[in-house]
């Protein structure tokens, strides 16, 4: 009896978590998928109605903006964060004495809530009293930096704040990667008289492909889920200019009372995340038979 219990205890320990994941992740995804196929409005209805919600979604100009913004924001955010992160990591890798301090400075934004980040940048970018005023105060009377309230440019302020928050993290990832490159290989290259920049471009950076991959995945994932930052920085505005799928979904679900649209937009987000994460996870989990 005790042996039987002992034998099944591990399963019993894992079971509640497994059930929770089954219900609250997969069950809920199923629910949302179902509802996205119905005519639910203020209250969920469960009669399947086909892809009407998705047709409505992609016909909506607001979603059009939000979905387009996802690609503008996502692309710029990911690329700039990667490039900046790598650059900072290489600069920091030069055996400088104050490395610890500088690393701490670069990385602290990652500890902040995106709401705090948004609030801070909203103030810094405030056209009347922020950076614009500072530069004008220096004598450049015609300087304009009103991206925050400019419908065409506002999405780029989200990029700025996002990069500010996440690039230090990318730096930390890359720095760890740079440091884990086999030192003997580097020494061998130095003995061969290969210049420093060639050592980086030909040996170190290519060996960090997996880290690029991880950083890319994390950043894309952050970009797609971005919600807090937009809410705090621009509130989706001016107008709908900085809406992202995440804010669109939230607006439909909680302020517009359009559950069908909310579910449909959530499913599209899900599809985008899966398109990126599934191949990654699959390749990561595959060779690990332990």
């Amino acid at each position: 009896m005790t042996r039987w219990l002992e034998h099944h205890l591990p399963k019993a320990v894992l079971a509640p978590s497994f059930l929770a994941v089954l219900v609250f992740v997969y069950g809920f995804i199923g629910w949302t998928a179902w509802v996205s196929l119905t005519r639910s409005k203020l209250m969920p209805r469960y009669e399947i109605d086909g892809f009407g919600q998705f047709v409505r979604l992609f016909a909506s100009p607001r979603w059009d903006t939000a979905f387009g913004n996802l690609f503008i924001f996502g692309l710029l955010f990911v690329v700039i964060s990667l490039v900046l992160g790598l650059l900072l990591a290489i600069l920091l890798d030069q055996r400088i004495r104050v490395e610890g301090v500088i690393r701490t400075i670069y990385l602290y934004p990652m500890a902040l809530s995106l709401i705090v980040t948004g609030t801070a940048w909203k103030w810094v970018l405030n056209p009347g009293l922020g950076l614009e005023a500072v530069v004008r105060g220096w004598g450049f009377e015609n300087f304009r930096f009103d991206w925050l309230v400019n419908s065409d440019m506002a999405i780029y302020t989200v990029v700025i704040a996002g990069v500010w928050q996440a690039s230090g993290f990318v730096m930390a990832l890359f720095l760890a990667g740079l440091r884990s490159v086999d030192q003997e290989i580097i020494r061998a290259a130095e003995v061969d008289g290969i210049p420093t920049y060639r050592i980086y471009s030909a040996i170190i950076i290519p060996s960090m492909a997996p880290i690029f991959m991880s950083a890319f995945i994390v950043l894309t994932h952050l970009a797609i889920k971005s919600f807090d930052l937009v809410i705090a920085l621009t509130g989706g505005g001016p107008g709908y200019a900085t809406d992202l799928p995440a804010t669109y979904m939230y607006a439909m679900a909680f302020s517009r009372g359009d559950i069908g649209q909310a579910a449909a937009s959530a499913m599209v987000m899900m599809a985008v995340v899966f398109a990126i994460v599934v191949p990654y996870l699959y390749s990561e989990l595959r060779p690990r038979h332990d």
Binding site: S17, F18, G27, I96, M249
Partner: protein, 306 residues
């Protein structure tokens, strides 16, 4: 777990990578390097600096002075207001009650999700049974879903459970969506514990729980620190669940901060906004400053699975 922390990396004195470049050129490069690093440091520090100085200025000085200037007269009025009087929506009780809400949410949610993660990780790493791999993959996968996809059903579920708009409801949500990561953390740490240790303990007569208690727990301090910090940062900084599943009175600090900043009643008090933002950020900043090494380890472990 692979130690990705860069903080405790020993730095042997191998030749500097820039040594072969000549003396003057080298000095110039060095100077450029520091200039570059300095400019970026300013970029990262500027918003914090601006927040801090703004929070210490009077509204009058904010309107007339420069954003980047130091306060002429330091005043803590804005901090007082932010803490106990600032208005979010119709109530004007400052951040304090919401700060307490966040504490009440974060502490139990971190504790529960970490304990569950430790046990799960122990099972997944050392007590494999048929299907354990699939269960783990499914849990891991759950970490990656955009939470928007569960917002609607979760809202209804909390309603059914009678937890809608309550702090226990938020604790529940954070625990549910936290165990994927905590399990991953502990699993990655525990797989590096040799399986022979478990076998030896079995031969010694210890069972499942005894082995966990006597052998694994004493080994686990570092991973507990990493996991607790990670979970605390996640939960404290959460906004999406907070704004979706709370109601007036149970909102966490991030939601209250956003409400204060965006409240349209009365004069816009930028100094109060900034003080409130700093207050909301303080706990996680503090954790970062005190235990940065573990914070980084959590970040890297969360993305570069071990």
């Amino acid at each position: 777990m692979t130690d990705f922390s860069t903080a405790n990396r020993s730095m042997p004195p191998p030749p500097s990578r820039m040594r072969r470049t000549g003396g003057v050129k080298r000095a110039l490069l060095r100077w450029l390097l520091f200039a570059g690093l300095g400019v970026f440091a300013l970029f990262y520090l500027m918003p914090l600096f601006v927040m801090l100085t703004t929070s210490l200025k009077s509204l009058e000085e904010i309107r007339t002075g420069s954003l980047v200037a130091l306060p002429r007269t330091v005043t803590f009025d804005a901090w007082h207001t932010a803490w106990s009087q600032a208005c979010s929506g119709i109530k004007c009780e400052g951040l304090r009650p919401y700060f307490m809400n966040s504490v009440l949410i974060a502490v139990p949610a971190v504790a529960i999700s970490t304990m569950i993660g430790a046990l799960n990780g122990y099972v997944v790493a050392h007590w494999r049974f048929r299907g354990a791999n699939i269960i783990f993959s499914l849990m891991l996968f759950g970490c990656f879903i955009p939470f928007q996809v569960v917002l609607l059903p979760m809202a209804r579920m909390l309603g059914l459970m009678g937890l809608a708009g309550t702090i226990p409801g938020l604790i529940f949500v954070h625990v549910i969506y936290g165990i994927g990561f905590t399990t991953l953390f502990f699993r990655n740490y525990y797989v590096s514990v040799p399986g022979e240790l478990v076998k030896a303990a079995k031969v010694d007569g210890a069972g499942f729980l005894r082995i966990f208690w006597s052998i694994f727990l004493p080994l686990s301090l570092p991973i507990f620190v990493v996991t607790i910090i990670w979970q605390f940062t996640q939960i404290w900084n959460d906004f999406l669940f907070g704004v979706s599943f709370s109601q007036a009175g149970t909102q966490p600090v991030t939601v209250a901060l956003n409400n204060i900043v965006n409240s349209t009643t009365g004069v816009k008090e930028y100094n109060v906004d900034m003080a409130a933002a700093i207050i909301a950020a303080l706990p996680t900043l503090l954790v970062y400053v005190v235990a940065g090494k573990y914070f980084i380890r959590g970040l890297t472990a969360g993305s570069v699975k071990g």
